[in-house]
């Protein structure tokens, strides 16, 4: 196992440490709460000369992604970080980056979208970008945020993929929460991420190429098919990188984290930091003999549809906890529930569990164990009676 040191770090510091070790050729970023600390920490690394990065202090997030696109097309390693309104502002070019198959890595510290203005955590920002063509990975802890950042570089730059990766952690809860984080030895981290050798570069003036051409109806469709096929190929690569990382650190990563799922009759599916709270509750309920399990998806894009359906086989009732709303979707459900419901319909052979959705934690609303206990009680009732009841419910909301 590789050497590492233990530090007390918040999620932002953990990510900026990963960025320091990755030592990207170019970082273009714009500060926004609660991602600010990442940009500030990285600025200090640049000021202290501990990285070789050309740091482009852009005037907006759209500028950040625009500069990243130019820099990445120019054949080097490129990173950025954002949150909330910043991600929303760069929307247009988030799609451009993925469609040009530029292997960028973007750290997203999840935060609610306006209006009303709110700086705290929910997943509206990155969930809104779920169809932009990026790989999306969600972290529960600062440790995972660090680990995922290193792995994201390898995944994005995989020659079969060349697809940008968005690496998420929860704003404030993880981003500002100090935890025990194992930081790989610098040399080991650098060895793991390796060097990036682009197939094509805008700077190759001897072999000039045209990037971002204008496609008509005669080619656009084929290009989109190639893009979606590449994203569909990502899962084994993500798993392979996660296993290699596991051999290096002892922390193996996969598509999702199952907990107590082997004989579970009811299950909770939830992303990011709330999985920690849910795990505590599941553990306590297990001690009481209740057959409940937990699944924490790590990869949301590409969506692990078959894998989740397989993992939920034998479960009678499942509750999805969504930290955002897909406005206007079926009963105002959240994206994770919608994706899972579609997967259960497509691959469940009509024998899947009864599924309900809980919208929670919008705008940073706290999630306490009692809420998760309520979910467990609801699930047990559904499993026992076979009656699903309301499709979409709300946790911790004053009605």
């Amino acid at each position: 196992m590789a050497k590492s040191i233990v530090k007390a770090l918040d999620g932002a510091q953990a990510v900026s440490n990963a960025m320091r070790q990755i030592n990207p050729d170019v970082v273009a970023a714009y500060p926004i709460t609660p991602q600010t600390a990442i940009v500030q920490n990285f600025s200090q690394y640049v000021a202290d000369g501990v990285v070789d990065t050309e740091f482009v202090t852009v005037e907006s997030e759209h500028g950040a992604m625009s500069a990243c696109i130019g820099a990445s097309a120019a054949g080097g390693r490129v990173m950025t970080a954002t949150a909330s309104a910043g991600l929303a502002l760069m929307w247009e070019v988030v799609y451009v980056a993925a469609s040009m198959r530029l292997p960028l890595v973007m750290s997203v510290v999840n935060r609610a979208l306006s209006a009303p203005l709110n700086i705290h955590c929910d997943h509206s920002d990155s969930m809104g970008a779920r169809d932009a063509g990026w790989i999306q990975i969600y972290a529960e802890t600062a440790q995972e945020a660090y680990d995922n950042t290193l792995q994201a570089v390898r995944i994005a730059e995989h020659p079969d993929l060349l697809t940008p990766v968005m690496s998420m952690q929860d704003g404030f809860i993880t981003g500002h929460g100090v935890e025990r984080v194992e930081i790989l030895d610098d040399a080991e981290a650098k060895k793991f991420v390796g060097t990036y050798k682009p197939k094509h570069s805008l700077l190759d003036v001897d072999n000039p190429a045209t990037y971002g051409a204008w496609d008509f109806y005669d080619f656009y469709f084929e290009h989109k098919r190639q893009q979606t096929d590449a994203l569909s190929r990502a899962m084994p690569i993500i798993v392979e990188v996660g296993e290699e990382y596991g051999r290096l650190t002892g922390r193996k990563y996969g598509i999702f984290d199952p907990y107590e799922m082997d004989d579970a009759e009811v299950a909770i599916v939830v992303l990011s930091s709330t999985a920690g709270t849910a795990r505590t509750v599941v553990k306590a309920l297990r001690q009481k003999g209740i057959k409940i399990g937990l699944i924490k998806p790590r990869v949301f894009r590409p969506f692990p549809a078959r894998e989740l359906v397989e993992a939920l086989k034998g479960v009678k009732a499942v509750a999805v906890l969504d930290r955002s709303i897909s406005f206007g979707a079926m009963e105002g459900a959240g994206p994770l529930f919608l994706e899972l419901s579609a997967a259960l319909y497509a691959y469940g052979n009509g024998r899947g569990p009864l599924a309900v959705d809980y919208i929670f934690g919008l705008g940073g609303r706290d999630v306490i164990p009692a809420y998760i206990e309520q979910v467990a009680q609801d699930l047990l009732h559904i499993a026992e009676t076979g009656e699903r009841g309301d499709l979409v419910r709300y946790l911790g909301l004053r009605e």
């Binding site: 170019v26 907006s60 070019v93 003036v205 204008w214």
Partner: protein
């Protein structure tokens, strides 16, 4: 610095024939003058617009140099990103220093309007990017809609001349001055009919070794409503009437007038060449011609003062 025609004739073209720009479009003339005047290798970013859609129709390209299009507003920042990567890789010894020059091309929509913030940021950060505005004074690619470069009185599809309104009711944004106010090493206004002046300006922009901006008037037969054979003549008249003075500004302070017409022609001479101003030559709207002349005179006098003329 001197431009020799003989030398130019032997040079390989960087923008090659086969593109789909309209007959008479000044853009390809301007681009060839600029990119062929530059000796060094170039990397070019282009904003969404006529040039982009006409020169990069997949699976073809008219570019014999590395070229990138990302979006409408961000050609400057796309070029700045590539330039930052180049500096980074050269500094780290990962690639050889080939003295690459970075250019960005955008129309007046991309430059005066939607992309202004991006250009301003690129210049403030000191990226060595030469930004060229191909100024045809309206959103021509989408069908002749007004921009902030469209002059007073011009009829466009979103500022049409009607029974009561004589085309665009505002003057135009003083963009070249705004760019000069960034105190960057080199800013210039140019016209394709003074080809030697334009080509020298391209070289000066390279030699300025910092952010540079060149605003080039680019007559558009479709939008300006003149015969496609007249583009260069129309550009020339814009300069002879002092509607489009040729000048350069170094470091925001050193203003130089590059051409002073022997006899300043009335702006009406330029307006009459173009169908987009036809409605101004009616009793109802002729006052607009006077207003236009007053604006041109005001800006010209101001420029003469700035240039110490």
């Amino acid at each position: 610095m001197a431009i020799k025609l003989k030398e130019l004739a032997g040079k390989e073209e960087r923008l090659v024939p086969g593109h789909r720009l309209c007959a008479g479009c000044a853009e390809s003339i301007i681009i060839r003058q600029i990119v062929n005047a530059i000796e060094e290798p170039v990397v070019i970013a282009t904003a969404t617009g006529c040039l982009e859609v006409a020169s990069s129709v997949y699976p073809w390209t008219s570019w014999r140099v590395p070229w990138i299009h990302s979006a409408f507003e961000n050609a400057s920042t796309t070029a700045a990103g590539a330039e930052a990567m180049y500096r980074s890789l050269v500094r780290q010894g990962k690639i050889e220093d080939k003295d690459i020059k970075f250019l960005a091309f955008g129309g007046d929509g991309a430059t005066y309007d939607i992309g202004l913030q991006w250009i301003s940021g690129t210049f403030e950060r000191g990226h060595k990017v030469i930004y060229v505005c191909l100024n045809n004074e309206a959103y021509m690619n989408t069908g002749i809609q007004r921009s902030s470069a469209t002059p007073l009185g011009a009829s466009t599809t979103t500022s049409p001349a009607g029974k009561v309104i004589p085309g665009k009711t505002q003057w135009r944004k003083p963009l070249t001055r705004i760019m000069a106010a960034h105190d960057i090493p080199y800013v210039a206004q140019a016209s394709p009919h003074r080809w030697r002046d334009l080509m020298e300006k391209a070289r000066k922009a390279v030699e300025a070794d910092g952010p540079a901006f060149i605003n080039v008037i680019s007559p558009c037969p479709r939008g300006w409503r003149h015969d496609s054979s007249m583009s260069v003549e129309v550009a020339k008249m814009a300069v002879e009437t002092c509607y489009w003075p040729l000048y350069e500004v170094r470091n925001g302070t050193e203003w130089t007038l590059n051409y002073k017409p022997r006899e300043k022609k009335p702006v009406a001479d330029w307006l009459k060449m173009q169908g987009r101003f036809r409605h101004l030559f009616t009793p109802q709207f002729e006052h607009v011609v006077e207003e236009l002349q007053a604006k041109v005179d005001e800006e010209w006098e101001r420029l003469l003062t700035l240039c110490g003329e």
